[in-house]
Amino acid sequence: MQLTIITDLNKCVGCKSCQVSCKEHNTSGDFGPVPDHHPYREVDGMWWNRVISMEAGEYPNVGVMYLPKACMHCYDAPCVPVCPTGASYKREDNGVVLVDYDTCIGCQLCMWACPYGVREFDEEQGVVKKCTMCIDRIEDETLPANDRQPACVQSCPTHARTFGDLDDPDSVVSHLVAERQGFTLLPELGARPAVHYLPRRQVTGMVGEDEISRVLGEDC
């Protein structure tokens, strides 16, 4: 079993609700894993999920892509073997990569080994933290079935994110990856990420100067 999240880049509108809901779910002052001690003084604190905004092309034919980026829960997670204490580990039953804060020495070697820059260092506790795929929610059998999924998946207003088992060939996520050419980030580094993205569809129409003049004319 390999739990994963599939993101459809055609549906993501960059609202950052996944970024915010992740922090909201995992932050509880001094007790939650995501530290949020000075939320007003330091807004750029720790985030386990970051929505990257990328613009491409030349004006007027430009495109903007929003890329939600959290732990990829890789099959061959490079952060796991480098950890000297065994604090970073990959669960055999569901493939989720986790950090045991009690045995982490805060050497940050796992942060250098992770190709995706999704691990964050908590200076106050001296340990490295990362996305847990909301393991506390997905394993909580007291929750309704609909709530047993990561906060980022549940909060997405456009249903761009899908949660499921990538090793199950009949699962929705497996079908999405197979049928929509799901791709992974930086595959050349050999980490075999479980998290996949569904590629943007090619935009065929080109914007010409006459079209711009027409729109600007209407605007004036």
């Binding site: 905004s53 004006y59 950890c83 204490t85 982490c104 050497c107 992770c114 820059g117």
Partner: protein, 324 residues
Amino acid sequence: MRPTWPLLALTLLQGLSAGMLCLAAVALLAPAMDIPRTTLFVWQGAAWVAGALGGMASFFHMHRLAAARYVLRRLGSSWLSREALSTAVYMIVASFVLLVHLFWPRDLGAWDAVSGLAAVLGLAAVYITAMLYATIPAMRSWHSPVTVLVFVCAGLLSGGAADYALVAGRSSDLALRAAVMGLAAVFGILFSFQARLFRQAAGGVLSATGTGLSGRPYRLQDSGTSRRPYRTQTQIWPELPARLRRWLYALVFGLAVAIPWAAAIWLPGWAGGILLLASVGLGVSLSRWLFFGDATHSSRVWFADQPKTPSPVRREGKRTYKMQ
């Protein structure tokens, strides 16, 4: 990545210690160098002090000492576990070198044997430390055998310079002087390879490679928060300005290669020895700072410091727009 003083101190002092012990072992086993055994003992004592200081510095890199007792758990896969073990074993054997000479001064065979063993273990410790960095594919600048060669050569050069400074002005320093000059030249060549590797790594990590988005050029608008996460993600760091980088690399060549050669050729005696040691020390330290500070991590794809391009839509007058 952000260079931190514990990492700089650990890697530099460990290399210095191993380099000094290696040259001491070579001098012990090759009597042609004709260096008094008292001097060799001084070299070994200085090497032990440097190694101990480096080992102490490593503790400051651990942010939770309470978990340090688990550090040898992953010897099978983690080079950091192996580094902790190899450095500890090296320091134990280096201590034996001093103890054997102090308590059994007549047993020269035992001293020679333990000294040779300590030198081999010192080189192994430096090799393992270098492998820790060289085996990280995500750190594009380090993922090369050149990293290992530079670490070993930097250790031997700094150790040789320290040994030379301790015997400078005596007739016995000729072979050592030649060795230091040779090591400085080799270090210069390896460092130039490393500089080239770092530029290639920086050129290979672009926004275009990490998104799959068609159309060019790419511009990173937002990395998720209003500022780059340099404080919570230490694997990335602001890119050095090109002009400053060129100056720093040139300075390394001047300090670690040119000045030591000049000091060894034209300035014999104590003054030359001290100048050579200071110059090599500064040059190797700066090269190690650049090793960390100028390194390119693959995650720079999403946290790139790309120059902001002004909007091509220019507003002229009240509501008139023109396309450039």
